[in-house]
Amino acid sequence: MNMKTTFSIPAVAAQVLLASSLLLSGPVAGQDRGQIADAVLLPMGEADFAPDTLVRIDAGRAQLPGVSLEPVSFTYPLPAEADIDGPGAPFETRSREYWTEVGGDELRAGVVLHVSSPRALVRLNPAGSAQVAGLGETHAISPETLVLTVDGESHAGGTGMELLVDAAQLRAAGAPFVDGTSAFRIRGDVGVGPLTLSAPELRAAGERFVIHVFEPESELSLDIVAGRSDYFHGDTLTVTADLGGLALRRVEGYVVSPAGRAWPVDFERAAEGRYVARLQLDALEAPGQGLWEVHMAASAQMDDLTVIRNGRAAFACHLPTAGLTGEASVQRRRDGSLGATFGVSAASGGRYEVRGLLYGTDGAGKLRPMAIGHAAAWFEGEGRLTLDFDGGLIRASGLSAPFEIRDLRLLDQGRMGQLHRQGRALVIDR
């Protein structure tokens, strides 16, 4: 058990003082101008990104109903000992499952499931017209009515299975499985290999069903990862997949956008048993509806076992509606506060935010986190956004110049776009 600390108390004070200190397309308001120095952003690092060209979307404000128009800024202190990393590597998904869609008549007669490891979980749900008509529950299959046949030996009435859960029990758990989903686990003594699953009592022979097979104990996963977490419209997506280095007997996939548009992709064999697919991305669609995904289905032969896997990986693809101009200025005011202003060029109307971390130098000469600043406003064309750091906050930190702005980001809030990310952005000598 941890004790709750009082870290939140100074954060309150800092944000109250700073909540209205936005500078947008104009000079600093107020009397205390102090010193203003022009600056330019540091060169981009290897992991940094920014768009090469911008896209103009005429719809602008009409396309983004409900997006706030008010300028807002917010700054709060960070603990100097905070361990803040750079951007994370793209997330690699690991799938130990596959699914297949079958007709009711097929399921009644018997469907072959390829199981490559013990204690696989099997999940069934009605699909197709039954779901369309809201009859998922009506066509649910109770696991006790299923028959598992392995090497000519049949297991009926729930034998050969454990953890049998019908649709009502699974729904009561609150897990949002599709209506009519039931599940069971194959007993460990049933074995592996091709198993036949049949539903001899099934009456809805004309319906469709989806059968999922999940093998949590399998050592073979289909690992899929996008080359980057963030792409821009027009970029070429690279996806790498690996099923334990096995040569794939079947491999197919497609990329699907947040709006549901899909493009098939071809996976080609690459080094070390991996498979790679590429696709030039077209992100001209309605904004703000989640991530893109690449879906993949693969099968391979491992000795006398067939291994089947479906998997997918997620990534973002942004419309480059705005970018940082590279111009910046730093204001050091007599009250000790510090402002860092960044030029923004917005080809499309939108609500844009700059956020960045302020680092300061400790007594040993080491740069440490001090605060995080955010500033956002709606605009189109050339503008500026200022991260303002209160003098009291800087003094309380015990840190001093030289300062740095790190992890600088430009975000398109209305379109959920991350348009600029830079690990080291600005050095402030004094």
Binding site: V165, A173, G174, P176, V178, L291, P369
Partner: protein, 283 residues
């Protein structure tokens, strides 16, 4: 205990010693219109709010958390209801109790203070968030639920095979959002306010054990098989690593609950094993 005592003394000595404390209950995934009865139960809420100097200073949020966390139906609705609550009741010291995906929606507000001009004031008034079984790093169950709809891509998603909120809670999706739009996970900047996790570590479904019935035996039964998609430590819906994936650990269930009972995902929003008293005493 010393740190929490120090905080209490600080509050007593500070100019805000007469702070009006309030508590807000924020539900998880789902579109709620009566979360008091349908999600939390009056027994839970009424017990917790007895810890307030004025037990009337509470609100139970009802929003559409089937949507992405950033939408006006989700974070916008939450900000609406919290703003109205603190305004109407004069709340200056707000404790937010979230369950499951409600933690993500609240974390969205804390992590994106410039998204909406109401957010800074809400953050200022928030003392801390008590995040019950937060899905901070998503859940493999969301991946499982979403799987298979690919065969009927256009149709399946329209049919609600997986709501936007469920898609968002896929593990890979939350990894992306944690790395970009959200704070509080390892390697990312801290949140502006404390985000204290209560972690459910197991599900008990023994039919002879009355503890299995707290919150509803049927609710727990399905969670036994859903555990199969999860790590060895889970509440039947979320891995412990997800529940403690952002912010700080307050406690693992068995370290504080009566009889050292674990809290399943459905029990962590109910009056089970003294959880209500722990939350009450935190106010």
């Amino acid at each position: 205990m010393a740190a929490r005592l120090a905080l209490a003394l600080f509050l007593l000595a500070a100019p805000g010693a007469f702070a009006a404390t309030g508590v807000a209950f924020v539900h998880g995934t789902g579109q709620q219109t009566d979360a008091l009865n349908d999600y939390w139960t009056p027994e839970m809420v009424n017990s917790v709010r007895q810890g307030l100097p004025n037990p009337s200073n509470y609100t139970v949020v009802n929003c559409d958390f089937e949507q992405y966390m950033w939408t006006s139906a989700a974070a916008g609705c939450l900000a609406d209801q919290l703003t109205r609550f603190v305004g109407d009741r004069g709340i200056t010291d707000l404790v937010v109790i979230t369950h499951s995906n409600g933690g993500n929606v609240m974390r969205w507000i804390l992590s994106n203070p410039t998204w909406d001009s109401r957010y800074p004031d809400l953050i200022a008034k928030t003392r801390w968030v008590n995040a019950l079984a937060a899905s901070s790093k998503g859940t493999p169950l969301a991946d499982a639920v979403t799987s298979g709809s690919v065969f009927e891509q256009a149709l399946g998603w329209l049919l609600g095979y997986a709501s936007d909120a469920v898609k968002m809670q896929q593990v890979a999706w939350m990894a992306y959002y944690n790395d970009t739009w959200l704070y509080g996970t390892a390697g990312r900047p801290a949140l502006p306010k404390g985000f204290w996790n209560v972690v459910g570590t197991d599900v008990e479904t023994a039919i002879w054990d009355p503890d299995s019935y707290c919150g509803g035996y049927g609710l727990n039964l399905g969670l036994e098989i859903t555990q199969a998609w999860l790590d060895g430590c889970s509440d039947g819906f979320l891995d412990c690593s997800s529940q403690n994936g952002a912010g700080s650990l307050w406690f693992n269930d068995t370290s504080r609950t009566n009889g050292r009972e674990p809290l399943s995902h459905n029990q962590s929003r109910r009056r089970c094993f003294g959880l209500d008293v722990i939350l009450r005493n935190d106010l």
